[in-house]
Subunit: 172 residues, 2 copies
């Protein structure tokens, strides 16, 4: 009983801590046995530039995340303010995705590429390390599709999206 | 020769992509054989709340990151705007750290805790997965030191620090 209470408090403090920790927003897509899948993620991080490596985590139990966890290659779309609706669609598991009205295509290598205003990084998954019921993935970037028009930077924080710019910069 | 040129372009595009991808800012500390060590990191991400797990990466070749990579337990300090000078100190390998003028203490378990205005998470390292010359670490949160006064949220983007607030929020 005591242990359970302590665990709940830890989980509550953990959610408060990371709820207040801002993060960039990405959509990760892949092809799967049942067609294209994708999720909005705030865990994508650069690991090294040479070789070009990144990391992200997936709650890989069910749904799109489970399908992504099995993929050998993924596309990481770094999102900008102009991609806000896309971010919301892929954050909500009941939203329709890859519909006719959503601008997307397939790369020559088969992975789904969403039209957006940030960079897209086609990656080969290198490792999947279990962490609780989630997976921590490391991936090598094979190709970068550079945005033609790069939008404004966007951040997720305390269940809201924010725009960065001259108005938010701190004096150095 | 061609391969080398392509790699350089990939690395350049990769740096541009992640340079434009905002991230929250943390300092990770640990005790080491040569005393307390710490680095500023933008790769800390939540993995799951129950169990409370997080992930981060380290360029573990030399210096403080190499010492951190060996630690069994670390403290992840989630930073706020009021912690800007601390973030800069621990981002610069030539800065003096854990000096008499820097407010820090040791937890009962020995890890160094920096006075700051965000949450601090004492963690046990669960796994270290090699990714290039870096390591991807998963860690279990054992204890959360909740900030008495929680500052304003801070983000690192394009080599500058930003403050989030009402001025930066996007209409939902």
């Amino acid at each position: 009983m005591t242990v359970q209470l302590q665990e709940s408090r830890l989980a509550r403090d953990f959610k408060a801590a990371f709820g207040a920790h801002p993060a960039g927003v990405s959509i990760i897509t892949a092809d799967s046995a049942t067609g294209p899948v994708g999720i909005t993620a705030s865990s994508v991080a650069s690991v090294s530039a040479e070789p070009a490596l990144l990391a992200f985590s997936l709650a890989a139990g069910t749904g799109s995340a489970a399908a992504l966890a099995k993929a050998d290659s993924v596309v990481v779309h770094l999102l900008r303010v102009e991609d806000l609706e896309l971010a919301k669609s892929f954050a909500n598991s009941s939203s329709e995705r890859f519909t006719g009205s959503m601008a997307w295509t397939r790369l020559d290598t088969g992975e789904p590429l969403l039209a957006h205003t940030g960079h897209a990084l086609r990656c080969k998954v290198l490792s999947r390390t279990p962490a609780g019921s989630s997976l921590l993935l490391a991936a090598e970037v094979l190709e970068i599709i550079v945005a033609e028009t790069c939008g404004e930077p966007m951040v997720y924080h305390s269940r809201a999206f924010h725009r960065l710019g001259g108005h938010s910069i701190l004096p150095s």
